[in-house]
């Protein structure tokens, strides 16, 4: 190799990189080595392709012939970067990534906001558009069938009881609606097509009323005054008579029992029809 300081040529291996003339230490340049050894037909360690270790012969030599005949290394190119350059580069790369992520998030959020606003507007429009519901008039005593169950409403009477009167709100009266329930297990149910009924309610004057619920009677320790089973808005009893209690205005003369219905089992959305049974309220019947 050539000394960097005094340009004297000397053997690097022999002098360990120290110039014999000026005593300067010379670090071997990888690039120079590669070029130098490539020109000389040697590898980077100074070994020529047909170099054989002393004393090597026979099978050992054959194996060397077999495995030492690889392609010479590709030329190595070197580029030099300072730590500062590297940091700057990395910093810029990271900043770019963050910007891309931020832009994606902003786009996603904007798209979601538009989607939400649009769906909210549609939903609001749907929720405020009053739709007409078909009403099916049923007569007192007529059977209404839903799945396995048939039921009919037989009448409405005022319930009078001195103890209960204390609990009755001013200007109100307690009306008992009697109904019969029949289970028909021989019928093959088809849940997808059978008419399905939801919870019933009463329409009395301008008011929509729920029946007095069993649990609220129990909470008030009043269940003992009633000899009937459940005051439930759901018709789910076995065969027999049920009685439903409604608190109506004192002046009410009739009451409509309404049962919302759907043609599908899922009962989604507003009812498709309402079965309505009008009952005259009979006065003065004690419990």
């Amino acid at each position: 190799m050539q000394c960097k300081r005094c340009k004297t040529y000397f053997d690097y291996e022999k002098h360990y990189g120290i110039c014999p003339k000026c005593a300067a230490f010379n670090r071997p340049d990888g690039k120079d080595d590669m070029e130098y050894f490539a020109e000389e037909g040697k590898d980077r360690f100074g070994m020529s392709e047909d170099y054989r270790q002393p004393g090597m012969s026979g099978v050992h030599e054959q194996l060397h012939d077999k495995y030492d005949s690889g392609e010479p290394h590709k030329k190595v190119t070197y580029s030099y970067k300072t730590n500062t350059d590297e940091k700057r580069g990395k910093g810029r790369g990271a900043l770019k990534k963050k910007l891309v992520v931020a832009v994606i998030i902003i786009i996603l959020a904007a798209a979601a906001a538009v989607f939400i606003a649009d769906s909210a507007e549609k939903r609001n429009k749907e929720m405020t558009t009053v739709k007409d519901i078909t009403e099916v008039r049923k007569l007192r005593g007529e059977y209404i069938t839903s799945g396995y169950t048939s039921f009919r409403f037989d009448g409405a009477r005022v319930m009078e009881n001195e103890v209960l009167d204390e609990f009755m709100p001013e200007g109100k009266k307690l009306v008992v609606v009697t109904a019969s329930v029949q289970k028909n297990y021989r019928k093959s149910p088809d849940e997808d097509t059978e008419m399905q009924y939801g919870s019933l309610y009463a329409e009395c004057g301008t008011a929509y009323l729920n029946p007095v619920e069993q649990y609220s009677l129990e909470n008030a320790r009043l269940e003992g005054f009633f000899d009937f089973e459940a005051a439930s808005p759901y018709i789910s009893l076995e065969n027999g008579e049920i009685k439903l209690l409604f608190v109506t205005d004192d002046t009410a003369e009739d009451i409509d029992i309404c049962i919302p219905g759907w043609s599908s089992y899922e009962q989604e959305g507003i009812p498709e029809f309402i079965c309505r049974v009008n009952l005259q309220i009979e006065e003065g019947v004690a419990s």
């Binding site: 990271a94 963050k98 992520v101 998030i105 996603l108 959020a109 979601a112 989607f115 939400i116 769906s119 909210a120 939903r123 609001n124 749907e126 929720m127 405020t128 558009t129 009053v130 739709k131 519901i133 209960l164 609990f167 009755m168 709100p169 109100k172 307690l174 939801g198 919870s199 309610y201 008011a207 929509y208 009323l209 729920n210 029946p211 007095v212 619920e213 609220s216 009677l217 909470n219 008030a220 009043l222 209690l245 409604f246 608190v247 309404c258 919302p260 759907w262 899922e266 009962q267 989604e268 959305g269 507003i270 009812p271 309402i274």
Partner: protein, 164 residues
Amino acid sequence: MSKGTGNSKKAGKVWLVIIVVLMLAGVIGNVLDENPEFMGGNASGSRLAVLNTDSERLSDLDGIEAQEGYYYYKITIEYYNSGSQAASHYQLMGYFSGKGYDDIYESDRYDSGNPFEEAALGILPAGKSGSIERYIQVKDGVSSIKFEYFDSSSSGRKKTTINL
């Protein structure tokens, strides 16, 4: 030194991922909340929407004057129930609020525990529209109040402003 920088970068990335996940969760939550039908939320429950509101200042309520510095108001709220179940009276009553904590007194809210009083209160069946009247005391000088009600199908609170 370099290890610390690496750790802080890693922590930064983790925070970024957490923030993105939370944002997406918030967005998805909002979408699902606003559109319960995505999760089958439309299948049951009431779906209340306020169609109209009205307010009327009263000199007294059944001969009883409001407390000093307040006026009685009759607030009428008209609803439509586009759900599959009836909305209870308590759902329809909702809640009023003002800018100040003492702007409003909801003196008509009580629960007697009497099953017959409860049954006498109106409901709003599925597919029907109807109105409810509330009598509240509002502080003098308050020009608008918020009305908040619950929609069981979306389990979300909905707010509307009522000008007095």
